[in-house]
């Protein structure tokens, strides 16, 4: 194919769009490591902003990791069985359940948070604890876990595998743990990565649900954007990116793998 003017025009446009998406990431990384952003990189590189962020916000980082891990654990325990049930049964009821479980994706975080506050806000023990945020995160991320496992289950012929195991005398739970779960491993792993990333970055719900003692990283980020100097905000963003980029890269790698094997 000969590369004419249109090729270069489109290439330039594509690169411009990519720059729009990528440049701010690099800008905030450099700003977080620069002594004085206003002067520029020539003022020298430093880790002191990162250290300052760590001193001020370390607890938000730990809390975020904790909530993300527990959310994932809960999603694993309730989401995987739920996906199996939905794949297994095709009735009006299961279609309705499917709809209910997907609904939280469609409802903005604010509405879910307002609803949670209106029902449970009065129970102050619960309201003040990190469990309140956990509940929001589970509701918000569960559909992604279920969808991701369901997609794998629908693409393999799990009924045949199950019947084979059953004919060999495997009980229901044996079949579930030794046949179904290993076979939808890729769906589970991508669901786990999705849950971790979404929970770590969740803001819309968390901002409404948090209390001064239960601040997560994105809440801290909003805080620092409003009140800290640019270098501190950038360093904080840098830590956040450092937390979620490995998850994103792992997810990319996972999505690509089947293509290579095929």
């Amino acid at each position: 194919m000969k590369k004419g003017m249109y090729f270069y025009l489109q290439l330039a446009f594509t690169l411009l769009v990519c720059a729009f998406l990528i440049v701010p990431i690099f800008m905030s990384i450099t700003a977080g490591l620069t002594n004085n952003y206003f002067v520029g990189v020539k003022s020298g590189l430093t880790l002191r902003w990162v250290e300052q962020v760590w001193r001020m916000y370390a607890d938000t980082i730990w809390l975020t990791m904790g909530i993300a891990l527990v959310t994932t654990l809960v999603n694993l325990c309730i989401g995987v069985p739920c996906a199996y049930y939905l794949a297994r049964t095709r009735s009006k009821l299961s279609a309705f359940l499917d709809e209910c479980l997907t609904l939280p994706i469609a409802i903005p975080g604010m509405a879910i948070a307002l609803g949670l506050i209106s029902v449970y806000g009065g129970i102050s023990e619960f309201r003040m604890s990190w469990l309140f945020i956990l509940v929001g995160h589970v509701i918000f991320t569960l559909p992604f876990m279920v969808k991701s496992v369901l997609a794998v289950l629908q693409s393999i012929n799990f009924r045949v595998l199950e019947e084979g195991a059953a004919s060999l005398g495997a009980s229901f739970w044996q079949r579930f743990f030794h046949v179904i779960v290993p076979n939808c491993k890729t769906g589970i792993v991508s669901g786990v990565l999705m849950t971790l990333t979404l929970s770590a970055g969740e803001f819309n719900l968390t901002w409404m649900l948090h209390t001064p003692l239960t601040k997560t990283l994105p809440v801290g980020l909003a805080d620092s954007y409003a009140s800290m100097r640019l270098e501190v905000s950038s360093a904080y963003t840098l830590i956040f990116l450092g937390m979620i980029l490995p998850l994103l890269i792992a997810a990319q790698w996972l999505n690509r793998k089947p293509k290579r094997m095929a």
Partner: protein, 270 residues
């Protein structure tokens, strides 16, 4: 049937959690929005200029962002599927990262680009001697919303374009269609379902984007900010509930359209 009972056991935990922490809160929200003076909040939303304006400006902004990202992403997506070059896979990988960035971070990126010390400000200073600061106005919101919308559409377009039937293109070409005719009559019709579905997801995400608007703290009252103000400053729970139900209904409608078109709902950030 013993078998069936065991399957049912599997969904019970998920059911309990979503009933207790999602369905019940939503029902309470509906009740709250209606309880106060027989749902007078809804009447206020339709009649008071403040709410109506917020609803309209959010709607317009989201529509403009959706159209802009559809156009931009179609060009980029088609280019990336049709040509192979060095570093393309890295480019594509980087394009998909912003999908899961939280709205606050995207707001910060807009400040980095278009804030008082941002890239555009430096550029403007060098070119015209003026600092260009767009971040804290409606254009800042526009930039931020574009930032999380473009990757979503690009990925959908790329997925759909890979499945394009090349024979159709060849047939069109041999019949003497030029570049634009091919685009209009072959490529775009094939992409339409994907564009509708990703477009409606973009629109829904933009309508509900709270984090970006919160970080930029513009004077423009987009709907999620109005809900937040009603709830925190005015302590008007009924109004906040009514507004967020309207918002939820709009986004639900959009995602239903998206699902009809066979699109997967790739996470909602913003």
């Amino acid at each position: 049937m013993k078998q069936n009972r065991q399957y049912t056991l599997l969904i019970i935990p998920a059911l309990i959690i979503s009933a207790a922490f999602f369905l019940l809160p939503m029902a309470k929200l509906v009740w709250l929005s209606l309880a106060e003076q027989h749902g007078i909040s809804y009447w206020y939303i339709l009649t008071k200029p403040m709410y109506l304006k917020s609803l309209w400006s959010t709607f317009l902004l989201s529509a403009v962002v959706t159209i802009a990202s559809l156009v931009i992403a179609t060009i980029v997506g088609l280019f990336l599927t049709r040509h192979e070059f060095k570093g393309k896979s890295i480019l594509v990988a980087m394009l998909s990262f912003p999908l899961v960035f939280p709205g606050v971070v995207i707001g910060f990126f807009v400040i980095m680009l278009a804030g008082r010390q941002g890239l555009f400000a430096e550029l403007g200073l060098a070119l015209t001697g003026d600092r260009w600061t767009l971040a804290y106005s409606i254009s800042g919101l526009f930039i931020g919303y574009l930032y999380f919308s473009i990757p979503r559409v690009v990925l959908t377009v790329m997925g759909a374009a890979e499945k394009l039937d090349h024979n159709l293109m060849e047939a069109g070409r041999s019949l003497g269609a030029n570049r634009w005719q091919l685009l209009r009559d072959v490529t775009l019709p094939a992409l339409t379902p994907g564009l509708i579905s990703s477009g409606s997801i973009c629109f829904a995400t933009s309508m509900g984007a709270f984090g970006t608007a919160f970080t930029l703290a513009t004077n423009l009252n987009v709907l999620p900010m109005t809900i937040y103000t009603e709830f925190t400053l005015n302590a008007n729970f009924a109004m906040a509930a009514a507004l967020s139900l309207i918002l939820g209904f709009i986004t639900w409608l959009c995602l239903t359209i998206a699902r009809r078109q066979g699109g997967s709902s790739l996470g909602m950030g913003g």
